[in-house]
Symmetry: C2
Subunit: 189 residues, 2 copies
């Protein structure tokens, strides 16, 4: 539709509800109430409910991608440090904001075909960054195994944290990132 600041703000609020309730359980009336408007007004900003989801997921993936690029640019040291920085950045977008990135991961299946086609290149770009960091770690002998499987296992371990992580608990996203890297690293490297 458009790309106004208003729409950005509404998208941000929608993300929060989608995380809390899930996309299917979130009604347009709930969304409108969260935004402080009536349900009819919502459709001035978005064509339909699907478009809200697409906007949230686009925002979440773009943000994660931008942060990951920045992280890798700033952290130009060992493969271990870079892997740790990526894991930390990933966890922070998932666990601290608790927003659009979570929706991008957990509600991707709810996108219609057109939206998936439009957004898959963003997701692919983000995953490509991960594979690059994994490759570096493999090449350095920090970790071992199949490139494809290691990437997916690591992403799985990280993404599943959304299900059990307690923000009020003793562990920070950085703690988790450190422990994960330690878990898969060969101590002899």
């Amino acid at each position: 539709m458009n790309d106004s600041p208003r729409r950005k703000e509404l998208t941000r609020q929608a993300a929060q509800l989608f995380v809390q309730e899930g996309f299917d359980r979130t009604t347009v009336r709930m969304l409108a109430q969260e935004m402080g408007i009536k349900s009819g007004s919502l459709f001035h900003h978005f064509r339909d409910k699907q478009e809200i989801l697409a906007a949230v997921i686009e925002e979440g993936t773009q943000n994660a991608l931008a942060i990951a690029r920045e992280t890798l640019q700033q952290c130009d040291s060992t493969p271990e440090a870079r892997l740790h920085a990526m894991a930390r950045a990933h966890l922070e977008t998932l666990l601290t904001d608790r927003n659009a990135h979570v929706v991008a991961l957990y509600e991707w299946r709810r996108l219609d075909t057109a939206a998936r086609d439009h957004l898959s290149h963003l997701r692919d770009a983000y995953e490509a960054l991960w594979e690059q960091v994994i490759d570096e770690a493999l090449a350095a002998g920090l970790i071992h195994g199949d490139r494809f499987l290691v990437s997916r296992f690591v992403m799985g371990a990280l993404n599943w944290t959304v299900r059990w992580y307690d923000p009020s608990g003793p562990r920070s996203p950085e703690d988790l990132a450190r422990e994960l890297v330690a878990m898969i690293s060969s101590p002899t490297a």
Copy 2:
């Protein structure tokens, strides 16, 4: 309600739809059609839609628990072999059957409070088996790290396979289990 063989069969069919479409998107009419009956007849077997979900999740968790117990009883060798056997069993219930265990993991949040209370002990028993196997591996020096975090990272890596695994691809659940154990094992152990 009851526990007839008929109800068991209907539960099995419901599981398949819940995996394919997700619980919220699966309508009682879809369920009825899959079962070869009309939607009104469904409520002879289940009080409401929630009860179908609870039946599926109970079945999925009980089955996973039974298989895990059997696996650990039969595999009484090294901590590495036991860890591998558990991972393999877990992946097979998720990826080969593609059924009730997937629903148990991915639709748990959709259970109402009463059902969660009733089923959480089953889930806890299953997770306790995992922690036991993780503990053995830690004690043997096969893996390193925090007991709690290692368990959750491993479960995350395994559970996330549902999202990307291709049953028609070259890798078997056993391949995945082997690679995962290799990824987290210290080669010096």
